[in-house]
């Protein structure tokens, strides 16, 4: 069963539609399905996550079946199929970052935010999760925050605290 929020109709901004068309123009005639991944990124950047309604609208825009969008959105780890906090702190949890303390950083975030991995804080501002290698192994521990995927490197507890405070003030 889909939750109610997943069936809420969504509206795409004119800017987003314009961006869609620019993306589609990058591929040869008839190969517009290639635009799917970048379009889903743009959609998620605007809406925060990909609801079924949002994915259906993307499918309609590309004139492909909704299942072709769902199967892609569920395959790739960057697409959120559930609502998230406004800021999603994604901490690299793979080997090289763990050698330099990534697990401590994740524990610290869990304590600071008071929510478990994948959960959203009551004020709707934050969620966090461990993700696999972010290709920044020499600057670990690292975390990223979408939709611009800004990187925060060489983290320690103090830097994480400052980051969370800064985001709260925004």
């Amino acid at each position: 069963m889909l939750k109610v929020e997943e069936q809420q109709p969504v509206e795409f901004s004119a800017a987003l539609i314009e961006k869609f068309d620019e993306i589609i123009s990058r591929y040869p005639q008839g190969k517009h399905k290639s635009a799917l991944l970048p379009m889903l990124h743009e959609t998620q950047a605007e809406l925060g996550w990909l609801s079924t309604s949002a994915m259906d609208k993307v499918a309609a825009h590309l004139d492909i079946l909704p299942i072709e969008v769902y199967e892609v959105a569920s395959f790739y780890s960057m697409y959120f199929l559930r609502p998230q906090g406004k800021y999603v702190l994604e901490v690299c949890r793979t080997g090289p970052c763990c050698l330099v303390g990534a697990e401590k950083i994740m524990n610290h975030i869990e304590q600071s935010l008071g929510v478990k991995e994948g959960e959203v804080t009551p004020d709707g501002l934050f969620s966090w999760r461990g993700v696999e290698c972010l290709a920044a192994c020499g600057y670990g521990p690292v975390l990223q925050i979408g939709p611009e995927y800004t990187f925060y490197e060489n983290l320690d507890a103090q830097k994480v605290d400052e980051l969370i405070q800064d985001l709260r003030k925004k």
Partner: protein, 455 residues
Amino acid sequence: MARKLLLEHINVPGIHTLDVYRQKGGYRAVEKALKTLSPDEVVEEVKKSGLRGRGGAGFPTGMKWSFLAKPEGVARYLVCNADESEPGTFKDRYLMTHIPHALIEGMIVASFALGANTSYIYVRGEMMPQIRILERAIAEAKNAGFLGKNILGSGYDLELYVQPGGGAYICGEETALLESLEGKRGNPRIKPPFPAIAGLYGCPTVVNNVESIAAVVPIINDGGDEYAKVGIGRSTGTKLISASGNLVRPGVYEIELGLPVEEFIYSDEYCGGIANGKRLKATVAGGSSVPVLPANLTLKLANGEPRLMSYESLSEGGFATGTMMGSGGFIAFDEDQCIVRNTWNFARFYHHESCGQCSPCREGTGWMEKVLHRLEYGHGKMSDIDLLVDVSKKIEGNTICPLGDAAAWPVASAIRHFRDEFEWHVKEPVKSLDTNYGLANYAEPIAKAEVTTGN
């Protein structure tokens, strides 16, 4: 200082802009190739250079190019693989962040050589800042007439686009990358047909790593023969090494192939030794999927000669006593690191990243993760160790793409070299939760690294 071919100007302020890049000799290779060379002559220079694919497999780039089918009236594509996701590897990010025009210049020359009029750079989605950097650089290059119609009056047309991925390690495999670029799930294709015959949209396609494409620039500028003079034996040229883990100075270094591993780890020109005055326990020399080696075998071959940073020397001794160059993701473990825990961590990674297409990989990676988890958390049995070896052997070689092998090798090699530590986790389930096995406890103790470099 060692010779730098890719990162020579990396510290020049503003080198990410077209103007500064050109002041430092940028886009000479485009002018030379398009104005004075034929596409086949460019391919010939790359063949002469001996350049080997920098993404991990080490296949000769020029040869890969020469396999490209050229049927009349069918489009050809060049796709750059910038889906850098192999744990321990972050060189392509570095190159794209600081000197994006090196990649774009290489893309233009390579596309010209292959006769591609539309080329894509597939960048992993998490590298959104790098995608913006590349898009800006492409716009600059286009304004300056290096992209678009009739480039430099040569009659050659090229459009270059950046494609974001969606966060899937498997898309670094070239056929999965092409599936993803077509807007599908990243399931690797069965080969043959190889992309050189039927790749993107069923058309002949070459997929090359970022560093391989950037290396085409010095090859064309100086000539393939000059490039081949750098390096050692069949490992020609320079290589970007991403160094991470417990090092004094982790980061990206351009080395001449053939540099002794010991010098790379301990010299102040490179990593500056092991952090916090600790001793080296083990290394993973080429990204997480290559076999882990204990310190003694990292620094020296089985016969006692120094091991070098080259394709041949790193794989000397096969998997019994050697490893692989891979993508150049060099991870160092100090004496306080637990091999069992790290092996579990890598196994979890491969389980998470398996696309699920082939049963041995989909199921086997999950089993390995589970068994390693119970060994790490004090619930392991002695028979688990051989079970892991058995599972890894049944994955290896039995899958469509090399992710299965990549998942199997770290587990098999960790048990091969550190079996004592796995057994200790079974015998001392409680103690192993918060204590390190140590270097000296092995049946054949891992020697303390003796540093002989002058630095």
